[in-house]
């Protein structure tokens, strides 16, 4: 009924606008297809192995997931060319190269679910590397369990989960929280103020940290959550000022992190008065906020760019060669990097034993894989599919890099459940995995174990 308003200048001008907007549009489309074509330009030889890579490169989570994608691409490149840690294994895995099928779920949980279905059923990938937030992992989990496919998940998370279809290569609660709380208690004091983004990982990990702190005689003087993506922290900072804690435990994520540290310093609180101990704050967020805002604060993680191993020096060098000298590496990227090698080693093992690649064989082959990662020697726990990782605490310096002030001597055995909250609960997958519920109640305290 309503017609488009034609401008008084008549048809010619409208045509002009029409054409020019089309031209701009097609130019943009051309620009982006150029961007993705570089990925498939390499000759993949015969019969490549299809692997799904599922990280958002647009939307709110892209600020983190894009660098996970970069780290994964570096690892795949090294496997396909037989360089880096893959040196001596020849090009590809048993002569077959990895063909990455890349999807971008646009930071939308609904699309994670849809695209993982597509990767498994339509693209028929062998396994998938991906996801960052707990919400995205939870949204794809039913797909992986229904179709019995494998997800390698590279992120520290809140625990409380043991799936036969996921290999968790980021920190479990006992590899990140257990050591940092006594450290804070000993070095800063007994009163902690806990903050976090308002979703499951920060809440659960603060709950675990609270139990840990109370166990050793400390006290939580405040517990505050900000909506995901909030960049306004005046109120929370005021509450911190009023509560006068000895330290702040931060579980903020994403772009809330730079905003909080900046406003914290702007409010006149220095790191020697109230230091911040953070879990998700890494080199990348430090770079985005400016190192002057973070110096003197702490992060508990498995990996820092300054970890002194030959593997790490190589990793940092090769990463910067591929993506630019101004880029930094961080713990999540390292996990995304090392899990790709776990996957490749498992595939190699399957081929060496003369098997075929499928979910069953890859799952059994991945269990117990060991790898000399940038952070040191790590291993997939054959019992609970989480990863033996180092536990470290770094103090941020003026240059945006961390001075490592605490480190375990070897990788710590992962436990998916906080032992302070769920005493004796752990999980043990049967061998071979029959996909039954692996939860085991031992009823007694689990002693920390290290990788020998």
């Amino acid at each position: 009924m309503t017609k488009p308003q034609s401008s008084s200048a008549g048809i010619s001008r409208r045509k002009f606008i029409q054409y020019s907007s089309l031209a701009v549009g097609s130019g943009i489309v051309a620009a982006c297809s150029n961007g993705s074509s570089t990925q498939s330009s390499v000759d993949l030889g015969e019969n490549p192995i299809k692997v799904g890579v599922m990280y958002s490169t647009t939307g709110t989570i892209a600020i983190v997931e894009k660098s996970l994608q970069d780290a994964t691409f570096l690892a795949i490149e090294q496997i396909n060319t037989g360089t880096g840690p893959w040196e001596g294994n020849g090009e590809g895995i048993g002569g077959r190269k990895i063909q990455k099928v890349v999807v971008n779920p646009d930071s939308n949980w609904d699309l994670y679910n849809q695209m993982s279905k597509r990767l498994i059923e339509e693209d028929k990938v062998v396994c998938i590397l991906g996801c960052y937030t707990s919400a995205s992992r939870k949204s794809v989990l039913p797909v992986f369990e229904d179709k019995d496919a494998i997800l390698y998940y590279p992120v520290y998370y809140e625990g409380n989960e043991c799936s036969s279809n996921v290999f968790y290569t980021g920190a479990a609660p006992n590899q990140q929280i257990t050591d940092s709380i006594p450290y804070c208690h000993k070095n800063f004091g007994s009163k902690g103020f806990f903050i976090g983004s308002d979703y499951i990982y920060p809440k659960e990990s603060n709950r675990i940290a609270k139990a840990e702190l109370e166990k050793i005689g400390g006290k939580v003087v405040g517990d505050e959550y900000a909506a995901l993506g909030t960049t306004e922290f005046i109120t929370i900072i005021n509450k911190i000022k009023a509560a006068k804690p000895d330290f702040v435990l931060s579980n903020l994520v994403g772009d809330s992190i730079p905003a909080f540290y900046r406003q914290f310093k702007d409010a006149g609180i220095t790191s020697d008065k109230i230091p911040i101990m953070a879990y998700p704050t890494t080199e990348e967020e430090i770079q985005a906020m400016g190192p002057e805002y973070s110096s003197g604060h702490y992060t508990s993680f498995n990996y820092f760019q300054t970890v002194d191993t030959p593997e790490n020096k190589l990793f940092v060098k090769q990463f910067q060669e591929m993506f630019g000298g101004n880029r930094v590496t961080n713990g999540v990227m390292e996990a995304a990097y090392l899990q790709t090698f776990f996957m490749a080693q498992a595939m190699k093992k399957v081929f060496d034993e003369g098997g075929e690649l499928n979910t069953g064989t890859i799952r059994e082959a991945t269990r117990g894989q060991e790898f000399n990662a940038p952070q040191g020697r790590v291993k997939i726990d054959p019992e609970n599919y989480h990863t033996y990782l180092y536990s470290r605490i770094g103090k941020w310096k003026e240059d945006g890099q961390a001075e490592i002030v605490f480190s375990t001597d070897a990788a710590v055995k992962p436990i998916a459940w906080s032992q302070t909250l769920y005493k004796g609960r752990t999980c043990v997958h049967p061998t071979p995995d029959t996909r039954v519920d692996p939860t085991v109640e031992t009823g007694k305290d689990l002693e920390p174990k290290y990788l020998s």
């Binding site: 961007g35 646009d106 949980w109 597509r118 498994i120 919400a135 308002d198 499951i200």
Partner: protein, 368 residues
Amino acid sequence: MTNIVMGYKQSTVPHKLVIVSGISLLVFIILPFTINSFQLSLMSKLLLFGTLGVSLDLVWGFTGILSFAHGVFFTLGGYASAYYLKLNLSAASNTYGGELPDFMVWNGLEKLPWFIAPLKYFPVALVATIAVPALFAYIIGYFIFRSKVSGVYITIITIAISSALTTFFVSQQAYTGGTNGITDVSSLRLFGVQLTALGLYFLILAYAAFVIALSWSLTQSNFGLILRSINENEQRISFLGYDVAQFKIFIWTLSAAIAGMAGGLFVPLNRFISPVYLAVAFGTQVVIWVAIGGRGTLVGPLIAAILLGQVQNYAEKVTQDWQLVVGILLLVVVLFLPNGLMSLLPKRASLKNLSKPKPLPVTVLTKK
């Protein structure tokens, strides 16, 4: 006067429409046997999204109320159905044993809240899936339409509702599962039989067909005529003695109920529900389906949801920046096809024309 007579007579079903809709239904019945399992689940999802679009079209296309809150109604229905499926998870597959859902255990709840417990029973859950969003919509509708709020302000209210509810659901993690939402739910069993993917598709198809038929008959009736007239000139219709607000509240509530049921069917398909469907971004998505499909065309939003979903699926294979393609497409449609994709169809193939009965003999008209 003649208009009203026509409207009345149109309740007899016209032949052309029966043929066209019969053929389209047949296509959708044959379709699942020709596509792979991913496409089957994608099509099931897009059919539901399309139904959600139809529900918005009822209020936007016919009554002129632009709402960004239809994602909210959809999600409320979804949560009702998700609680049902979660509570019926067999004790063996519940990580913590017992009947308390895992996320409640994590958040320190010791017993099932009273307002969630009854959802364990199928009849209660079924009613709640429709009634909760409908009731919520009724309250909002009563609040808004019985006031002088109009036009763009209603739209802004719906944006605020969607934004506030998203924050609220995320913050009440113990009850709603926070950003994760409700995950790890059981699959839907009807009459003791577990529904397969194909079965679910046909259930969804049946629902979509029912919604289209219901909306069609509603909009072709006298009631539909009044709705259209409200859209065109609200004042005149109220001078004629109709209670305009009453009509608006009714269609608004009905539309929310339709959206809620779509959400309820979405959970067994998707196996999770989360605040992502409450957010303004999803509400906007629904608006876009209706705008691209064509307002007031009923089938337009359904077609647009399916088309856009497929475009997105294929664009994603070509470029990582597929949403740019979607954005440009939206701009092009708004600028050059203001009445949506349905306006591309030749006029005689439009729903309105198809549903016209054979011209009545002049005598009938004059007699009245």
